[in-house]
């Protein structure tokens, strides 16, 4: 087995890397500590021949291949070459660098132009991760691309089990800097099965073409992945960590977090006592955030109504009516002093009212849809023969055209009235009438809108359960809609302390007036719909009663476990310290077991209910031993059926039965004593 890391940076590139200083000694430590057999130098969009030759000639016990990480199409591509024609590789990479000096990416055509025969190289696109290259590009290069770089053991395991698709590989993407934390990059390399020695790129390519020759540990088993440089591995399924107090269990989890959570969002880590710290208010906030989609779905229809009603400006309408009447009466009263201009009919002519009637357009669309439908053509033909539909369509089209013509004529007339009336008003000494802008149709429609809006708001404020869903075996999350009960609640909704809602809230019972008051506050208009009703969430237990403090913690655990599915790995530290055995057995164990089918899970425990009942895929046993006054920490591991657990280097071992009973049952004698007591109780009852 050979361990390879083909994604390594040695030159910081502006805009791509944080600044770092390359250190060759650190590189040698990296190779030695992690026992790597082959590396590729893959800097962003450049190949530094001089540096490569120094690295290649200085590093011991490792084969170094030249490479480059290219901004290719819509993602990143690692291109690795054989290490026997460096001048040629350097020239080609210079062309890449030159092109990317003035552009953002290299296209497929350009890549082929520069590197000619791509089969001479190992091409590794980013795959199932950030900056991944689109499937259609990969498909187009299927003759040359058969490997994809993933970012986690979870993704690796998922893809390696698939018969088809690219072979996944996991590399470090490390920057070899003076202050490199090597420990952080353990478990980020790939193992390949090959007998070729010394390694060549051709041998590596041959191995990578066969999924049965690619692993994340040196065991030739896909079910395990290496986590530490010493060869320590974990199962892709459920791992249980046992050990007495202060034997290094939490330290072990923290170490895993350090290695596999580089960007801070790949691992779900449920720390000891974490979930019982949440107070009531915080608990409700989490629920609201979690379930905000329930509210949004419920209010989506209402939101559209508010978006329309918010445009109504009743003050302006009222002002325009007042102005219209005043000017009309004033003009009428001045009838005696009217001149030749104001006596002209167009002086006081009322423009045509023009409204858009979409009904005919809707009918036309419906007929067209009937004519174009193929699925139900026979049934439609049976009742509505095509010839009739076509005649109907033509006749209605004529009417539609006529209506449009009439509308255009009216608009034209209105335009003339407006222009002429304006000229007449300019010449006349009579008072003018404010005719334009007042429309009884619009006034009446506005009134209807307000009426309906008020009714809708009152309906959404009625208390009602709008969502009710089970959460695990025990809990139910209920969403209840109802009115806001105080201005304080409105302020909470606004999530700012800068807006005072007390005056506005006085109008709350009168929706439209309340909306007009809300409009005066500095609230984004698009979010006004949120201030009319409140959605409250309640978690109920199996008896449909609100949950107690302890049950809240249980609910939090289940929720955290459910969230974990989105992550690459799940770490749980002593769940039994916060929860009772019945809850763990009935609700948690099954869920953890299910999750472990999707991603690696590591649970630290002293508890037999958690430890053994779940039938873990792999057991790790931590032990502190004191010799000559010094504490030594050891990590043993093995599968459930193994009689001995061993350290990663195989030099030490412990009896698995003793290890498990000591940790979970306080030893063999205590375990047998308890069994007797339980048996006696059983007989008596």
């Amino acid at each position: 087995m050979k361990k390879i890391d083909f994604h390594i940076h040695t030159v910081p590139v502006n805009g791509k890397d944080s600044s770092f200083t390359f250190n060759i000694e650190k590189f040698q430590h990296y190779i030695d500590e992690l026992s790597i057999d082959a590396v590729a130098i893959t800097n962003h969009n450049l190949f530094n021949l001089e540096q490569f030759e120094t690295i290649s000639s200085t590093l011991q016990n490792v084969i170094v291949f030249p490479g480059i990480e290219i901004d290719f199409e819509d993602g990143h591509l690692l291109l690795i070459g054989e290490n026997n024609n460096l001048q040629d590789f350097d020239q080609k990479c210079k062309l890449i660098s030159a092109k990317l000096n003035c552009r953002e990416k290299i296209t497929e055509v350009e890549l082929k132009e520069i590197f000619k025969d791509l089969s001479d190289y190992l091409l590794i696109p980013h795959y199932a991760q950030r900056r991944e290259i689109s499937k259609h590009v990969i498909n187009s290069l299927h003759d040359y691309i058969f490997v994809g770089e993933v970012q986690s053991p979870k993704k690796f395991y998922k893809l390696i089990k698939k018969e088809s698709g690219l072979t996944p590989v996991l590399f470090s993407d490390v920057r070899i800097s003076t202050n490199l934390d090597i420990e952080k990059y353990q478990g980020n390399q790939t193992f390949i099965k090959t007998d070729v020695d010394p390694l060549t790129l051709t041998a590596i390519i041959t191995a990578l073409k066969d999924k049965n020759k690619v692993f994340l540990s040196n065991l030739e088993q896909h079910d395990f992945f290496q986590v530490f440089g010493d060869g320590q591995k974990l199962s892709h399924g459920l791992n249980i960590v046992l050990g007495s107090r202060s034997s290094g269990k939490t330290f072990f989890l923290n170490k895993l977090e350090n290695i596999f959570d580089k960007d801070g969002n790949q691992i779900k880590y449920i720390r000891q006592f974490d979930l019982i710290k949440v107070d009531e208010e915080e608990f409700n906030k989490i629920l609201e955030k979690e379930r905000s989609n329930v509210r949004e779905n419920h209010l989506s229809c209402f939101r559209k109504v508010v978006d329309d009603v918010v445009k109504i400006d009743r003050r302006t309408t009222s002002y325009e009516m007042q102005e219209y009447l005043e000017s009309l009466i004033k003009f009428a009263k001045s009838e005696e002093i009217q001149d030749e201009f104001s006596k002209a009919a167009l002086f006081k002519e009322i423009p045509f009212t023009i409204h858009t009637d979409n009904s005919l357009e809707t009918i036309l669309k419906a007929i067209k849809s009937l004519l174009e439908n193929k699925e139900y053509k026979a049934v439609i033909e049976k009742y509505l023969p095509e010839v009739n539909l076509r005649n109907l369509l033509n006749e209605l089209k004529k009417q539609f055209k006529e209506k449009n013509k009439e509308k255009i004529r009216k608009l034209w007339v209105n335009n003339i009235i407006e222009v002429v009336a304006q000229k007449l008003h300019e010449c006349s000494s009579s008072p003018s009438i404010k005719l334009i802008g007042i429309d009884f149709y619009d006034i009446a429609l506005e009134r209807e809108k307000i009426k309906r809006f008020n009714a809708i708001v009152k309906a959404i404020q009625k208390e009602k359960i709008i969502d009710n869903r089970s959460f695990g075996e025990k809990f139910k999350v209920q969403a209840l809609v109802g009115p806001f009960l105080s201005s304080q609640e409105l302020r909470e909704e606004s999530k700012t302390r800068d807006i005072a809602f007390s005056e506005v809230f006085k109008k709350y019972k009168h929706p439209f007036e309340y909306l007009e008051e809300l409009k005066k506050l500095s609230i984004d208009r698009a979010s006004l719909y949120r201030y009319f009703c409140k959605v409250r969430y309640h978690v109920l237990n199996e008896y449909d009663k609100p949950v107690s403090g302890g049950e809240q913690s249980e609910f939090n655990l289940l929720k955290a476990l459910q969230d974990a599915r989105q992550f690459e790995m799940l770490l749980i530290d002593e769940p039994e310290s916060s929860f009772d055995n019945i809850f763990l057995k009935d609700n948690v164990n099954q869920m953890i077991k299910e999750i472990s089918k999707e991603l690696p899970v590591v649970v630290v425990t002293h508890n037999s209910t958690v430890g053994m009942s779940m039938q873990p895929d792999y057991i790790l046993y931590t032990k502190r031993e004191t010799s000559t006054g010094n504490d030594e920490y050891y990590l043993y591991s093995g599968s459930l059926g193994d009689s001995k657990f061993k350290t990663a280097d195989g030099t030490r071992e412990v009896d698995s039965y003793t290890a498990i009973l000591d940790t979970l049952e306080a030893g063999d004698i205590a375990y047998k004593d308890r069994a007797k007591i339980y048996n006696n109780l059983k007989v008596k009852s």
Partner: protein, 122 residues
């Protein structure tokens, strides 16, 4: 019900209690006329200069008559538009538009006395 009437050479409108001379109309009364025009029976005396000799009444009456007539002519389209107005939201939330008060003024008066303490009846 007749809302605009010509009698003794003068124009009148009905303000829900009595007939008032047309030049006395204010915006509240005009709004009431629009509300009545929107609903069921709405009659008006046709504008006729011969029957309406008062010159200033002629101008006001004709202007209001034409506008109300235009609105009545579009009533079918108006009803159709109103029927579809926020129909999906009304259906979705089970809103009862019949119970909504027509008189917005009443509502305004009551709202001024509201405060946070009497919200329990919502």
């Amino acid at each position: 019900m007749k809302y605009l009437e010509i009698k003794n050479n003068k124009g009148y409108y009905f303000n829900d209690t009595q007939m008032i001379e047309i030049d006395q109309i204010n915006k509240e009364d005009l709004l009431k006329l629009i509300i009545h025009a929107e609903e069921g029976e709405f009659e008006m005396d046709e504008y006729d200069e011969n029957k309406l000799q008062n010159k200033s009444h002629q101008i006001i009456y004709k202007n209001l008559y034409d506008k109300l007539k235009d609105f009545r002519n579009n009533k079918e389209q108006f009803d159709r538009e109103v029927d579809h107005l926020y129909a999906s939201a009304i259906g979705e939330y089970g809103a009862d538009i019949q119970v909504e008060k027509d008189d917005e003024k009443d509502e305004k008066e009551t709202s001024d006395t509201d405060d946070e303490n009497n919200l329990t009846n919502i």
